[in-house]
């Protein structure tokens, strides 16, 4: 916790990082709000999806956008100082969070499975339904995994910032 506070203090002393953070939050919040409800719209995203935002999806959207809003300034801060920021984990978190609702009830998986079944007949029939059913009924698990990845990415970058702060030559 102390390390996180140190990193936050180090990064957010500059106004430019505040701007990056706020812009990232708004951008990612909008992205999550138009994609997470796709679970109720058969994968359709955009303004139509906003009608289906409920309290649970709002909380997930704010949480994940909030984490990314801290991660983006941290990453840029490290890169500006010539450090290698860890972005793979954050990218993984972003993908898992966004893609899960897009796959659960859309034609994507049935189309893919019917194509693959041409090569592997064992996958014909209800194999796509098993995947989609699992995604649909375990969405909270996938959102939790996405959030965990983002938290881990935050932890990785926080540690780097702390290392950089401790060894800075003033």
């Amino acid at each position: 916790m102390k390390t996180i506070l140190q990193a936050l203090r180090a990064v957010f002393t500059s106004r430019s990082y505040w701007i990056i953070g706020v812009a990232s939050f708004l951008g990612f919040l909008a992205l999550y709000l138009i994609t997470l409800p796709a679970t109720f719209t058969g994968g359709r995203i955009g303004i139509i999806a906003l009608r289906f935002v409920n309290v649970e999806l709002l909380i997930w959207s704010v949480l994940m956008a909030g984490l990314l809003a801290v991660l983006m300034p941290f990453t840029i801060y490290l890169l500006r100082r010539g450090y290698k920021a860890r972005t793979g984990t954050a990218a993984g978190g972003l993908i898992v969070g966004i893609v899960t609702p897009l796959l659960c009830c859309t034609p994507v998986i049935p189309i893919v499975f019917s194509f693959v079944a041409g090569v592997f007949p064992v996958l014909a029939g209800s194999a796509g339904g098993i995947v989609q059913g699992f995604l649909a009924t375990h969405e909270t698990l996938f959102f939790s995994a996405a959030t965990t990845l983002l938290v881990y990415a935050l932890f990785q970058n926080t540690r780097k910032i702390s290392e950089e702060a401790c060894c800075r030559i003033l």
Partner: protein, 174 residues
């Protein structure tokens, strides 16, 4: 940073594809064709699609585990007054084997998400047989509907009534 930016760009680029995607049906049944005569099960008895000829019909197949289907059941039930007014029959069928994944029964599903229409005369709740699914939903989409005109011709094939209610209402009123 590159990975995060790349991922964001790829996601943003891919989103329109998802937005445009709808279950365009392949194989046996297509828009403009007469709805093939085959039977599903309702109240334990086989019922032919031809029973509905002479009425505009919404034939919706879904899986009870699918969140889009929950929202769609609510959305369709809310429009029951319009469907009754325009003489539209609504046939709601659980996919064959529930699309391959367990979930509540169609009865439980209907009572939870569309209780107002469970007893409605213009609504039929049933289950798709394997033969029915082969013709009307060969790719096993979790959510797929047909709008069939009074003449038995398929007017539209789409999915997610929750997100395409305007199309359905236009068909009902047209």
């Amino acid at each position: 940073m590159k990975a995060l930016l790349k991922t964001s760009v790829y996601i943003l680029a891919a989103l329109p594809a998802f937005a445009l995607m709808s279950p365009v049906q392949a194989a046996a049944v297509a828009k403009g064709m007469h709805a093939p005569s085959t039977s599903f099960i309702a109240a334990g008895k086989p019922v032919s699609v031809h029973v509905y000829h002479g009425h505009k019909t919404i034939l919706w197949m879904f899986s009870t585990w699918c969140p889009t289907c929950e929202a769609s059941a609510v959305a369709l039930a809310e429009k029951q007054a319009d469907f009754a007014k325009y003489g539209v029959q609504v046939v709601v069928l659980e996919n064959y084997q529930n699309g391959g994944y367990p979930g509540p029964s169609i009865g439980e599903f209907a009572l939870k998400y569309a209780p107002r229409v469970v007893q409605a005369k213009n609504w039929t709740f049933g289950e798709a047989t394997q033969g029915f699914a082969k013709i009307y939903n060969p790719k096993a989409y979790p959510d797929l509907y047909y709008l069939i005109g009074a003449d038995g011709v398929i007017d539209e094939i789409s999915g997610a009534p929750s997100a395409t209610l305007d199309t359905i209402l236009k068909f009902a009123k047209g």
